[in-house]
């Protein structure tokens, strides 16, 4: 729980004056009068909120550096290496540069919406941190609807992107925003459906319960869901295989053409930080969160290692794959990911019915389920990629006529 945290505990005991047996403080001579004894929890919690958000924003800024540097390596370039040792101060330099740039608002822009869009873009990204279980007993809140909260709050980005594209009055921005809404809502459905398999296995929406239910990592038990989640996740973050929303060569930059200076920085920060958030959610749902093979390494370190590995995988995907066409992006969501996610749900439900005893599974049962699911996912992927190939007319399109 949060109250086991040392920092939280020290601040709490410094302020608390009540019964020592309840609070766990050794000597109850706090700063506040006894009538205000409900306050120490919230004051200590507030300081933890500030610390957590600051750490997260710093990670987000460092991630932009890591991404540029690694993309440079993938493309046989050096990447940014001038500001500070190995260019590690590049995010600071970028921030200062963007702060000193003039912000130009177009005449015909809808100014309140124009200014509100970057704010709404950044809020959900920060809010998801509230429900992430970072380590064993190290989390801010353990909501019983944490998974639903994370999914629904990140869906707000769709609105922010549409506000940004719509309010500037730029045609390219508007086209980008229309594409963004179509793409994001299309990928929302398979991503959310892929998590249903996990809820079936755990019987709870709390992310702490999800991690504790993982006797073996759910990447093995739910391989199809993992694949759908990682593909849909990179589509929802508008990253390269699916970055038709901000395709530079077609739409200049999509929804944020008319943004400059600090507002542009906020869009970029939200976009890069959402990669970290998505990696953290994938770590929690599929890679057994804070649990690791060696117990001498503390649990938050395991969580961060897995999270950074997933973030690296997203950079890897970005560096490897070319951009898809818009029609390919859309048909991939509706004709491939959606049927596969429904198959995954019903196969998992039947397995829960056969193996589950009051909704709990032994480790042996989970290994059997994982074996079945891996076979099912390979068969499903082969069949539906064949259907997609026939449907798109790929075979007939390039037939050479003599």
């Amino acid at each position: 729980m949060l109250s086991e945290n040392l920092w939280f505990h020290n601040i709490y005991c410094f302020l608390y004056t009540g019964d020592t047996a309840i609070s766990g403080c050794s000597n109850a001579t706090g700063l506040l009068p006894e009538s205000l004894n409900w306050m120490p929890y919230y004051i200590a919690g507030f300081s933890m909120v500030l610390v957590l958000i600051n750490i997260f924003m710093a990670f987000g800024a460092l991630y932009t550096y890591a991404e540029r540097r690694l993309i440079g390596r993938f493309q046989s370039r050096v990447g940014p290496n001038r500001a500070g040792p190995f260019g590690i101060l590049q995010p600071v330099a970028d921030g200062i540069k963007l702060l000193t740039k003039e912000s130009m608002i177009p005449d015909q822009a809808d100014k309140p919406v124009y200014n509100l869009a970057p704010i709404i873009m950044l809020i959900p990204v920060i809010l998801v941190v509230a429900v992430l279980p970072v380590g064993e007993g190290t989390f801010m809140t353990d909501l019983n609807i944490a998974l639903l909260f994370a999914i629904s709050i990140t869906a707000l980005t769709t609105i922010a992107i549409f506000m940004a594209g719509f309010s500037t009055g730029n045609r390219f921005a508007m086209l980008g925003a229309m594409r963004a809404v179509a793409q994001l809502i299309s990928y929302e459905v398979p991503v959310v459906l892929s998590t249903v398999g996990i809820i079936l296995l755990t019987g709870s929406l709390s992310l702490v319960d999800v991690v504790e239910a993982q006797a073996i990592p759910f990447i093995l038990v739910q391989p199809l869901a993992f694949l759908i989640f990682i593909i849909g996740g990179s589509a929802e973050m508008n990253r390269t295989p699916f970055d038709t929303v901000e395709a530079e060569s077609e739409l200049i930059a999509g929804y944020h053409i008319e943004y400059g200076g600090m507002k542009f920085a906020m869009f970029q920060l939200a976009e890069y930080a959402s990669v970290l958030i998505n990696s953290a959610v994938i770590t929690t749902l599929f890679l057994s969160g804070w649990e690791g093979p060696f117990s001498f390494i503390p649990s938050p370190i395991w969580f961060l290692l897995k999270m950074f590995f997933m973030a690296f995988c997203f950079i890897w995907i970005r560096a490897t794959l070319p951009r898809l066409r818009m029609d390919q992006v859309m048909s991939f969501a509706w004709k491939f990911l959606l049927p596969l996610s429904l198959i995954n749900i019903f196969v998992t439900a039947i397995e829960v019915l056969i193996f589950g005893v009051n909704g709990t599974f032994t480790q042996g049962d989970l290994w059997i389920i994982s074996g079945i699911n891996i076979i099912v996912s390979i068969i499903g992927i082969v069949i539906f990629s064949k259907i997609l190939e026939i449907d798109s007319g790929f075979n007939t399109q390039f037939k050479v006529t003599v």
């Binding site: 929890y41 958000i53 809020i123 809140t141």
Partner: protein
């Protein structure tokens, strides 16, 4: 109940701080223009919209877009409602058993007929 307030109290604090961070960034940016760290010299040319360097023509606010977008919106509404029903079903599935599985299978099949119909009438095709 106290635990409930503790959880959602912290979440409310998170909402407040998460809202304050981006607003603070905008305020810092605004103050930077007041102490002339950031220039602010608007003119007619600068405040037109950017269209690849040529002057924008016609009424700028609106673009024409494909009717297909509505199709995807309709499909999204249908399947999003399906997910809303799937979440509580999945949580209680361990207790409900076989009956719930058959019920949900019928429900999803009815919606899948809609998807297959949309597929057949080429509502899911983009460029055709």
């Amino acid at each position: 109940m106290e635990n409930y307030f503790h959880q959602y109290g912290l979440l409310a604090m998170f909402v407040i701080v998460a809202t304050a961070v981006p607003i603070g960034m905008l305020v810092v940016s605004y103050l930077a223009s007041k102490v002339s760290i950031r220039p602010h010299k608007p003119n007619q040319t600068k405040s037109t919209i950017y269209e690849c360097g040529v002057e924008p023509i016609g009424p700028n606010k609106w673009v024409q877009f494909d009717f297909k977008y509505y199709m995807y919106a309709l499909l999204f509404v249908i399947f999003d409602i399906e997910t809303i029903f799937l979440f509580p079903w999945a949580i209680q599935f361990g207790k409900l058993g076989m009956f719930a599985l058959v019920e949900m299978f019928i429900f999803v099949m009815i919606l899948l007929v809609g998807l297959i119909y949309a597929w057949k009438v080429k509502a899911l095709e983009w460029g055709k």
